[in-house]
């Protein structure tokens, strides 16, 4: 019954069971452990199903959106290290993400809260920061861009995500002041974050992305609105 390599395989079995720790496992060892895990998984079959509470799946969607957003933020931060106002922008964006998905922070797993706290830092006082997470009308998990407005400075920073327009089409950014005035074009969706000067925006304003022919809207108004998001105070 016993054979060469048993010790190693039995260690793997114990790591699968959890009687031994997995710390410092090599790739080969983790493959052996996974094989045992799949064997033991049959034990789960005898446990009767229990319906999870309603709304739990919504929490899964929120966490997926948040984790994706945090990963994007961190990538952006690495890319833009030293960028003027970068930290402030990240602060606002990170805060907006929490607001945008209306997820009480207490519901987040501990390590995600720590991650967020690290990103959030301390906000500057007396400085109104606004953010809008602009998401797809059909699927709130797809964000097209994040807009951060620094009211005192009169700037708007557009942070695009990874969405790209279909072949032969273009995405254009619009600002609609609260109260539903005519959309004002802010130009084509940039490929990397862009800060625009002399922007006057307030809470309740809407930022949208429309799909247009190459070069942008032919008549100065949006053709097909695809993404939208409302400005909220970042903190």
């Amino acid at each position: 019954m016993a054979r060469a390599g048993d010790e190693r395989d039995l260690d793997a079995a114990e790591r699968a069971l959890g009687t031994l720790s997995r710390d410092g496992e090599s790739d080969a060892d983790s493959a052996m452990r996974e094989r045992w895990e799949m064997r033991f998984a049959a034990l789960g079959a005898v446990i009767p199903p229990v319906a999870p509470p309603p709304g739990l799946y919504r929490g899964i969607q929120d966490r997926i959106a948040l984790e994706g957003a945090i990963a994007d933020l961190e990538a952006e931060r690495r890319k833009r290290r030293g960028w003027r106002n970068g930290a402030l922008m990240m602060t606002a964006i990170a805060a907006s993400l929490v607001l945008a998905i209306a997820l009480p922070r207490e519901m987040l797993p501990a390590e995600m809260r720590t991650q967020l706290d690290a990103l959030l830092g301390t906000p500057a006082p007396n400085d109104l920061q606004l953010v809008a997470t602009v998401t797809h009308d059909d699927n709130p998990l797809i964000a097209g861009m994040i807009v951060h407005v620094d009211v005192a400075a009169g700037t708007a920073t557009i942070v695009p995500t990874r969405v790209t327009a279909p072949e032969g089409r273009a995405y254009e950014v619009w600002h609609i002041a609260e109260g539903g005035s005519m959309p004002r074009s802010l130009g084509l969706l940039p490929e990397s974050p862009v800060t625009m000067q002399s922007i006057s925006a307030g809470p309740g304003d809407i930022f949208t992305i429309s799909e247009e022919p190459p070069g942008g809207s032919p008549d100065g108004s949006p053709t097909t609105l695809l993404f939208r998001g409302t400005m909220v105070a970042a903190r």
Partner: protein, 211 residues
């Protein structure tokens, strides 16, 4: 994709000799959903949740014995599935087994992170009994049946150690405390049990290949 899963179930119901849950057909449906999730299809994740959520929540609840922890475990597990669905390989086991591994690992991580003592956890209970009864285990397909048969053939002590470690997340040290035995003795018992279990499972696998 949700419709796809429902259709699969409805289809099965009309079938007089419908295979048990955990059958090849259910496995194929779950595997198809997983591969769509790997391609980033969010609706397939929802369908997977509809199909397997209750089963997996039952497992999380059995291990954590606390609704809030079980809810956390299930959420974390599905986020992990969303990010890692491409790592599921058909050749290495059923999709349900793969999902079960994820949920169990999350449940035990949460349980340990929260910190809990060995005291106050009941021992000889439902799962032990259900598992020791191969008839109750027939619902899960051939792998479950094989594991049930092999556990039944184990010495009682080894069987108990394996099940306690699996469902309660006890370490060697905690088992030693519970059984009032030195840690090395627990190790010896465990390994003797696991060696026998492995031999038996390999025999079962050879047998089913021949059938």
């Amino acid at each position: 994709m949700a419709r796809f899963w429902e259709a699969t179930i409805a289809d099965g119901r009309q079938d007089a000799d419908r295979p048990a849950p955990g059958s090849d057909r259910d496995a194929a449906a779950l595997a198809a959903l997983l591969s769509a999730v790997a391609d980033g299809d969010e609706r397939s994740l929802a369908a997977l949740y509809d199909a397997a959520g209750a089963k997996l929540f039952g497992i999380a609840l059995r291990i954590t014995r606390e609704r809030s922890l079980a809810e956390d475990a299930l959420q974390e597990a599905f986020v992990h599935v969303w990010q890692n669905a491409d790592r599921y390989e058909r050749g290495r086991g059923s999709p349900m087994a793969w999902l079960t591994v994820i949920v169990r690992n999350r449940s035990i991580d949460l349980l340990r992170r929260r910190g809990r003592g060995v005291q106050g956890r009941s021992v000889g209970d439902d799962a032990l009994e259900a598992m020791a009864d191969p008839v109750a285990a027939t619902d899960g397909g051939v792998e479950v049946l094989a594991l049930a048969r092999c556990l039944e053939r184990m010495e009682e002590r080894g069987q108990e150690l394996v099940l306690l470690a699996y469902f309660e997340g006890w370490t060697r040290e905690e088992l030693a405390q519970r059984f009032e035995a030195p840690v090395n003795t627990i190790k010896t018992w465990l390994r003797r049990g696991l060696l026998g279990l492995r031999a038996c499972l390999e025999e079962e696998a050879d047998g089913s290949r021949r059938r």
